[in-house]
């Protein structure tokens, strides 16, 4: 009964607020996402050479993504838990299917053509992997023991390696970190984490051996971009010039010269942050980072308020993965991380990734808005 009164007390008086809550929407998170989407339009207009077509297509995708988010927010988190393993199994099966069909076809294949629409299983697995690990750990005593750690590691590595084989290093990284996030939040002991870190360090030479030529090039280019100014290093050099020339206040909206003059490749997709930094300067960048931090903070808050282990683990992992997204993309664009194909979340043009991303926020909203009213 006590919670009832508290809820009423905090209820915003507006009708809109009332509708939003009925829709199972978390208002602070929604506002954050809304601003990010708005920024996406503003910067895409500039980066996409003021092509309205780009904006329309992005608007269509973002609308779809918001619709997916709101739909998922309606689903009781109990249902997510219940179907975690099945969804994960389907996801892995589809990844294998894509790989097999890719073998038959030619080159990298990430799409599964279902005839009426094309589906990218690696997107789905971004969500189902943390769901699976959270489901696996939720009803077992925590922190996880070495045996559970072993099982969880296999469960994480399976989709990760399948995606890395496609080859899509960026997505593989995100899937791995979403699974690892769950383990971290489950309270995996620091000693075991150190051991894993050491094992990964030992595995690096082996991973190197299995990397594709162009993936190796990217790492090498990252280490020394000036060695290959026409190829991969070109991206990094040009993006540094764009960012650096933006200065503190930036050149103003539509004022970027680097992307305008086609110096900067992929300026609407993976390298959009460089355009943003050039036009809005350090102030804009810090502002954007603060917006991201607010979104992440809200997600972590939702995790902290979650009522069962599954929800806690899933929510916190989703928040963590979102941060990995931001960090890997910006890190790559400003030249502190190698170039892996990860878009700037909520801002970059295109990809189905924005749908998956907002689906994740839908799950977070579902977790937050379906809490049982506990009577203490």
């Amino acid at each position: 009964m006590k919670t009832e009164t508290r809820r009423e007390h905090f209820e915003p008086p507006s009708i809109i607020g009332n509708i939003l809550r009925r829709l199972h929407i978390d208002i602070p998170l929604f506002i954050g996402l809304f601003f990010a989407a708005l920024l996406s339009f503003i910067i895409l207009y500039s980066a996409g050479s003021q092509d309205m077509g780009v904006l329309y297509r992005q608007a269509a995708r973002i609308s779809l993504a918001f619709a997916v988010m709101i739909s998922l927010a309606h689903v009781n988190p109990y249902q997510f838990k219940r179907y975690s393993a099945i969804l994960f199994g389907i996801g892995v099966f589809l990844l294998i299917a894509v790989l097999v069909m890719g073998e038959i076809g030619k080159g990298a294949q990430r799409w599964l053509d279902l005839g009426f629409f094309r589906f990218q299983p690696s997107e789905m697995i971004k969500l189902t992997t943390p769901m699976m690990i959270a489901w696996f750990l939720a009803d077992r005593p925590l922190p996880p023991r070495p045996k559970q750690l072993l099982v969880a590691t296999v469960l994480i590595l399976l989709p990760t390696l399948l995606i890395a084989k496609q080859p899509d290093l960026g997505t593989a990284l995100l899937v791995a970190s979403s699974g690892a996030g769950v383990l971290f939040f489950a309270g995996l002991s620091w000693r075991l984490m150190m051991a894993i870190a050491a094992a990964i360090a030992a595995l690096l030479p082996i991973i190197w051996h299995f990397m594709h030529g162009y993936q190796r090039d990217r790492v090498l280019t990252f280490l020394n971009p000036e060695a290959d100014p026409l190829g991969r290093g070109y991206h990094i050099i040009q993006s540094k010039i764009a960012i650096g020339s933006g200065g503190i206040y930036g050149k103003g909206w539509l004022g970027s010269t680097q992307s305008e003059l086609d110096f900067l490749p992929e300026s609407s997709t993976d390298f959009i942050f460089a355009v943003f930094a050039e036009e809005f300067g350090l102030f804009g960048c810090v502002g954007l980072l603060i917006l991201y931090l607010l979104i992440i903070a809200r997600c972590l808050y939702i995790a902290s308020q979650a009522q069962d282990t599954y929800c806690r683990l899933l929510a916190s992992s989703l928040a963590f993965t979102f941060f990995v997204y931001v960090f890997v993309n910006i890190g790559m664009v400003i030249g502190v991380l190698p170039v892996v194909g990860v878009p700037l979340p909520l801002i970059s043009y295109g990809g189905t990734s924005i749908v998956t991303l907002l689906a994740g926020f839908g799950i977070l909203m579902s977790i937050h808005t379906h809490k049982k009213r506990l009577s203490r």
Binding site: G107, D139, R140, P141, L142, P143, F184, F185, A186, G187, D228, P229, L230, G231, R232, Y234, K240, I241, A242, I243, G244, S245, G246, G247, I248, T257, Q258, L261, F263, A277, G281, L282, C285, V286, L289, Y292, L293, I296, A297, L300, A303, S304, T309, R312, S316, A319, F320, F323, F327, I330, G331, I334, G335, V336
Partner: protein, 606 residues
């Protein structure tokens, strides 16, 4: 046991740790941004603004392709285009109008130029005319001072001087499309517009292309070039010397005149391909600059299929050209000896079956030994021999000569043909292997399908006494620093008894040199002997007891004429396979083509 409150405590601690780490890493990003945007600002701003350095690719020159005697098969020739720079032209409509009158430019070209140049920056030039001829160049040169902002630009265009003669060997280059762009190494192809699409141009793309260089050019804020700071020269692509002899290639192509077909000749000692001809060919040059839709459709829909590489991808029944190999199988497996005579009444019947397998000669050949059977191409002899061998042994033996598999030549798109076997038929046709299938396989009809290249290779391997010959086209790759060998490989040896080979070669010599030989027309007045075998491949099945008269039936339904040969018979140097579609008899149409090539080739050598 689950301890919920302890778990929650751990969880909340972890949340705090995570948030701390996230904040820390975000701060690291901010520090880096501060470094770039405050401390690096001046440097980067000057790079971006006043004189930003633009890296301009310098496109490498594509390697030249030569034949074995150093004649150029593919090179780069200058092409001139008329380009207009809008910002230097005060009155564009007037300039266009005057140019149109001067050079007779069509309205279409003016329209497409107007659409195009508006999309470009004002200081970049757009082409109005491509591939200007000498007259246009001369006319413009005279009045050039009256056209500020209009310039002649030169760029190199791939050129194939032998046109349709080499189209199916050399292939052509064409514009890089989007899919290809994704696969290509960005650094080496920045600035490149063309890529090998077919033939040698495609198989040796990486060698021919060379390596891009780049110039660092100072540009101002509008990206106008000011000054070149630094240049790394491009590396010219490697030149290729082929084993192909363009003069022989021309003889072969000309000899095929009036027919569709293919000729492949191989240097037996090395495996180098001397002739690789598929007729009709097509002119590859329009593909380089971009063939018009109509022209392409005309090629694609032509009944003669000029785009179809018959030598590499054409599938034909080998007909009687398979007989020397079947005969050799008979000797190797001791199923028969060379002197043993079999009676040929003009047809053959399997026990208990009424179907008559007919001989091409209605009255039959009478009693023939192996030599006669090869020289006169007696079908009944080979029906019986095939029956004695059985399909399994025939399959095992023929497979060794490369039938049913790719030869491994350095061209993409090769077909593997089909060598039928019991297992193949059961798997593919869902039908058991019948004894009749064995008989017709023995005379090269039925399911067996070969490419002209395969046939030439098998012949070369036979001439080489079982040393397997692997055909190749590129003899050597010459870079500025080194000469590298082409892909010559040796693929082992088929164990064959010398006396068995001699018996087969004797039969094949009689095909050309005996009175009753099926190709005796080509064996006269030469100081050496040619070993050969004619073949006729049925395009359609003649009904039992129906009469076949080649003059009565439609040309397209006439039999394919085939001929395989090598020479000199006892010191073999060249092997030739000829297939003439709808040519009728191998002896009358296909053999003379091989004869011309052999005579020309050996004349040069003796």
């Amino acid at each position: 046991m689950k301890d919920n409150s302890a778990e929650q405590r751990v969880f909340h601690r972890r949340l705090l740790v995570a948030f701390a780490v996230i904040s820390l890493l975000t701060s690291a990003l901010v520090i880096r941004l501060v470094y770039l945007q405050i401390f690096g600002h001046e440097r980067y701003a000057s790079m971006a603004k006043e004189n930003s350095v633009k890296i301009v690719p310098l496109v490498p020159t594509r390697g030249i392709i030569y034949d074995r005697n150093g004649k150029i098969l593919a090179d780069n020739t200058p092409s001139y285009s008329l380009e207009l720079t809008p910002e230097q032209i005060s009155n564009m409509p007037d300039t266009l109008h005057r140019l149109q009158k001067l050079l007779n430019i069509s309205d279409d070209k003016i329209d497409s130029f107007q659409k195009q140049y508006k999309r470009q920056k004002r200081f970049t030039s757009t082409a109005l005319l491509l591939n200007m001829n000498d007259e246009e160049l001369a006319r413009f040169a005279v009045v050039r001072p009256y056209f500020p902002g209009v310039d002649i630009r030169t760029h190199m265009v791939r050129h194939y001087p032998y046109s349709e003669l080499t189209a199916h060997v050399i292939g052509y280059v064409g514009r890089i499309n989007e899919n290809e762009m994704k696969e290509l190494p960005i650094a080496e192809y920045r600035g490149s517009t063309h890529i090998g699409k077919l033939g040698i141009e495609s198989s040796y793309e990486s060698q021919l292309h060379g390596k891009a260089g780049y110039a660092e050019i100072e540009t101002n804020v509008q990206a106008r070039s000011l000054n070149t700071l630094n240049e790394t020269n491009p590396e010219t692509g490697a030149s290729l010397y082929l084993s192909l002899d363009i003069d022989l290639q021309k003889i072969a192509y000309d000899a095929l005149e009036g027919y569709n077909g293919a000729v492949v000749a191989i240097d037996i000692k090395t495996g180098g391909v001397l002739v690789f001809s598929s007729r009709p060919g097509f002119d590859p040059n329009p593909f380089v600059v971009g063939i018009t839709n109509d022209a392409y459709k005309a090629l694609e829909s032509s009944q003669d299929q000029p785009l179809y590489n018959r030598a590499l991808r054409g599938l034909y029944p080998p007909g009687s050209t398979v007989k020397p190999f079947v005969a050799l199988a008979g000797l190797q497996y001791d199923a028969i000896n060379a002197e043993q005579k079999l009676f040929c009444p003009g047809y053959y019947q399997l026990p208990g079956v009424t179907h008559k397998f007919r001989d091409w000669r209605k009255g039959g050949h009478g009693s023939v030994n192996m030599n006669d059977a090869i020289a006169q191409s007696c079908d009944v002899y080979f029906y019986r021999l095939a029956s004695m061998l059985g399909i399994d042994r025939m399959y095992d033996f023929l497979k060794q000569f490369g039938f049913g598999e790719k030869t491994g030549i350095d061209l993409v798109g090769e077909k593997s043909g089909l060598l039928p076997s019991r297992q193949w038929k059961e798997a593919q046709k869902k039908q058991q292997w019948f004894p009749g299938d064995t008989l017709i396989t023995g005379i090269g009809q039925g399911f067996h399908q070969v490419t002209p290249l395969q046939l030439a290779r098998a012949t070369a391997t036979l001439a080489n006494k079982g040393q397997i010959v692997t055909p190749f086209l590129v003899d050597r790759i010459v870079t500025p620093n080194a000469t590298l060998p082409g892909p010559q490989t040796h693929k082992g040896e088929i164990p064959l008894k010398a006396e068995n080979i001699d018996a087969i070669v004797a039969g094949m010599v009689d095909v050309v040199h005996s009175e009753r030989g099926t190709a005796k027309s080509i064996g006269k007045n030469i100081p050496y002997q040619i070993a050969g075998k004619t073949g006729t491949a049925q395009v359609f099945n003649i009904k039992q007891n129906a009469k076949y008269n080649e003059h009565d039936i439609d040309f397209k339904l006439r039999d394919h004429a085939l001929f395989i040969s090598f020479a000199p018979a006892h010191d073999p140097q060249i092997a030739v396979a000829v297939i003439v579609e709808n040519g009728g008899h191998g002896g009358s149409v296909a053999a003379p083509i091989a004869g011309k090539i052999i005579k020309q080739y050996l004349k040069n050598r003796q």
